[in-house]
Amino acid sequence: MNRSKPISGELLKLKDEIEGYAIEFGLDFFPQIFEVCDYDTVNILAAQGGFPSRYPHWRFGMDYDQLSKGYTYGLQKIYEMVINTDPCYAYLLQANNWVDQKIVMAHVYGHNDFFKNNAWFSGTNRKMMDVMANHGTKIRRYMERYGQDAVEVFIDRVLSLENLLDINVLFETSQIRRNSSSSNTDVEEGEFQNDDRSQALKSFMRTKSRSEKPSDKVEKKKFEDSPEKPLTRPTRDVLGYLMEHAPVEEWQADIIACLRDEAYYFLPQRLTKIMNEGWASYWHSTIMTQRALDSSEIIEFADKHAGVMAMSRQNFNPYKVGIELMRDIEFRWNTGRFGKDYNECTNMKDKLAWDTKVMKGREKIFEVRKSHNDISFIDEFLTADFCNRQQLFTYKFNPRTGRMEIDTRDFEAIKQKLLMQLTNFGQPLIQVEDGNYKNRRELLLRHLHEGVDLDGTYAHETLKNLYGIWRRPVNLATKYEEKEVVFHFDGKDMKASH
């Protein structure tokens, strides 16, 4: 069913125009495909993470429900969706007016360039659309065979652990990955990386290699006889660990593999939110103001742009911080405000008027977009001066007044706070430490406590889901209200031992 259709006519002409500017500015992007669709379709796509075909799950239905309501009540509107694929697909809302479409197109070229060039995306499978569709087909088939409820319950459990990823896995080449899992493949490297069949094939082979193992019974017996080899070092790739070691059926292992693949596909986007949006916004702003904008459209553009950049007192807007930092970097490198001479200059007057006219700004931001992620971006380029100009502050909960209050405007504190929130893409650091804890084949996870407690209720529920996969007692070592504690769930009761 075709809910979106390729652009034509005026829009196609506009695309060619904007693409021309993008090339002129030196953006380097995948072939770009724009399609238009109505708001319902945009909501569907957004609910499915941008992809037209996903596995069946109520969560997508829930997101769709919320998005549709938001649109109906006029609370929110999605102008555009862009997916990190090659060719790069982007969806335009049919109801956008002309200026919107211009902004969106320019914005999309920014994203496209970022997807193609940023290092964190280098290992991404660009044929993800097919992979996702394949996952959908497979999971639907499992549902037919094992029952919708059984499969859905299992998916729920796996999704519960979806955020326990190791960002380093992104840089493992498929060679290493393959060696570490199973070794009976002799497909060529290149094919594995680039061909969409390879994903399906890989997963098929994974299934096959599992099924070639001795039958379940024997395997279990073996398990009890020889306890699992201890982990040489803890792993944060919890899903990967479960896929390899949890006593699950092969279809369940395959589902873990599918969902893990998808989670790792989305990971680079979570790692580069500020940069990605900043970069795209920088380019829509640049292309619009310097090339594409008709003088009659200025007010409208300014209005829309301001809406996107709005940053309220409670919300950190990655678009705003991203674009401002990009501009700041460009300015600093244009005027030579970097390096030893500038940093060591103590004369404030000189410093304020510093301009070596090196004009390396553009070059610098292209370099930045290639090699950084949000953490290194903030760490390296956020300056006290910038925080001051942008009036940034940190806030925290005051238990006495029961409200959020401004904490400080101190640069170091702001930077620490930001870095902390970005660490491990904002998720708690949790690793598998032992698959044979207490020599009883219990699972031990450890939360590396960085100053913020876990949400207790959620942690309990998650442990229950983990138990559903591991099928032996599971443990989580963490700190709660300043005390070391191990949560233990044995299928019936939750216990906490200090």
């Binding site: 109520w58 239905g61 989305f266 939110k273 409670q314 909960f397």
Partner: protein
């Protein structure tokens, strides 16, 4: 065909409804959680439908913002992790979702019906009052093109071609001709008009406290919901009484508190007047409900009440319901009197004792369980 997400969506709705059903007792006993929205929609707050994850506790975290202000100044509102203005990339937002789920009257009533295993009501409606309704459930051989039923048309064409042996499975071309065309067509259905009236009577004398009234209010909400789902037209009337009775609107009904004594017969006779004036029992399904704490002023008055019930109210109504809300001051005598007179299993008189908020659901089942 619809997009597959509609299936995800209906799956989601099913899960929610299941959750509401599982927690119905809680929703009912905590009262006021389900908020009517317009005439036939309800909003139900749904915590924790979200997939649990290891995540940071909210409060201790804080965040970063932009704007003016001194340290110590409040940041208005709470940070909203999903609140990204303007464009946004999906698949990344993750946060607390306190869902407000919308349900239609029918859906909510069905949940109530399923949970309590309520039988559908057999209306005693007047058969002479009929209304007709056209429904497109039929297939015809003539009709306007706009109503052409493509699938049936092609099916017909396929049948014909197979019968005529002009169908080639190698080259499965199906070409409908004029007489294969099928059209959607309507059937006229006659429905018996059935109308119902619910008459709530409540004792507002001094011994009925706020908690008792809250119970009555919650109970009447669910009873109304069920009856509304069963009848096309429904009217609701309210009577309050202490020593005298008067008809009031809904607001007043739940707010009024008098201090006088209690003469239940005053309410019953007003109820009789209302029925006589507006609702001929042959055409209306009548549901009088009476709530009190069981205190009546005198045995004489109780006798008067029983007479009214026997001679008029019981014969006129589908079912008379008496709900006795336990209160510290009430003696509960009226319940005993009614039991003494009619026993526990009367044909169209239902008695129920409501101990506290937890008892509401059971009491609703007692009232509506007979399917009358």
């Amino acid at each position: 065909m619809d997009h597959p997400i509609k299936r995800d969506h209906s799956r989601f709705r099913k899960i929610i409804k299941g959750k509401i059903r599982d927690n119905l007792r809680k929703y009912v006993s905590q009262g006021q959680q389900i908020i009517p929205k317009g005439t036939d929609k309800f909003t139900v707050p749904m915590p924790s439908i979200d997939i649990p994850r290891f995540k940071f506790g909210d409060k201790s975290q804080g965040g970063t913002g932009q704007g003016q202000g001194q340290p110590g100044d409040p940041v208005q509102g709470q940070p909203d992790p999903n609140g990204e203005p303007g464009q946004g990339e999906a698949g990344e937002g993750e946060g607390n979702k306190e869902l407000d789920v919308e349900l239609s009257l029918d859906e909510l009533a069905r949940i109530l019906g399923e949970e309590l295993a309520l039988p559908n009501i057999e209306p005693k409606g007047k058969k002479s009052l009929k209304s007709t309704k056209d429904k497109y459930t039929n297939i015809g051989t003539t009709g306007p093109d706009s109503l052409r039923h493509l699938r049936r048309t092609y099916k017909q064409a396929l049948k014909r071609q197979i019968a005529m042996d002009s169908y080639n499975p190698e080259n499965p071309t199906v070409v409908p001709i004029r007489r294969d065309f099928r059209y959607k067509s309507w059937q006229t259905k006659t429905e018996n008009q059935n109308a119902a009236v619910v008459i709530y009577m409540m004792d507002v004398s001094g011994s009925m406290g706020d908690e008792q009234k809250e119970i009555v209010r919650t109970e009447s909400f669910w009873i109304n919901l069920w009856l509304k789902s069963q009848y096309k037209d429904i009217e609701i009337r309210y009577i309050i009484h202490d020593a005298t009775a008067k008809e009031v609107d809904e607001q007043t009904f739940f707010r009024t508190r008098e201090s006088g004594g209690t003469l239940i017969s005053s309410a019953f006779s007003l109820c009789k007047e209302i029925i006589e004036a507006d609702y001929p029992p042959t055409e209306w399904n009548i549901y009088p409900f009476h709530f009190s704490d069981g205190d009546n002023w005198s045995a004489d008055d109780t006798k008067l009440c029983l007479d009214l019930l026997d001679n008029f109210i019981l014969p006129a109504s589908n079912q008379f319901c008496y709900g006795q809300v336990e209160s510290r001051y009430g003696s509960g005598q009226f319940y005993k009197d009614l039991v003494a007179r009619y026993g526990q299993d009367h044909e169209n008189l239902v008695l129920s004792k409501i101990k506290n908020k937890e008892g509401i659901l059971d009491s609703i089942k007692e009232f509506l369980g007979k399917g009358k």
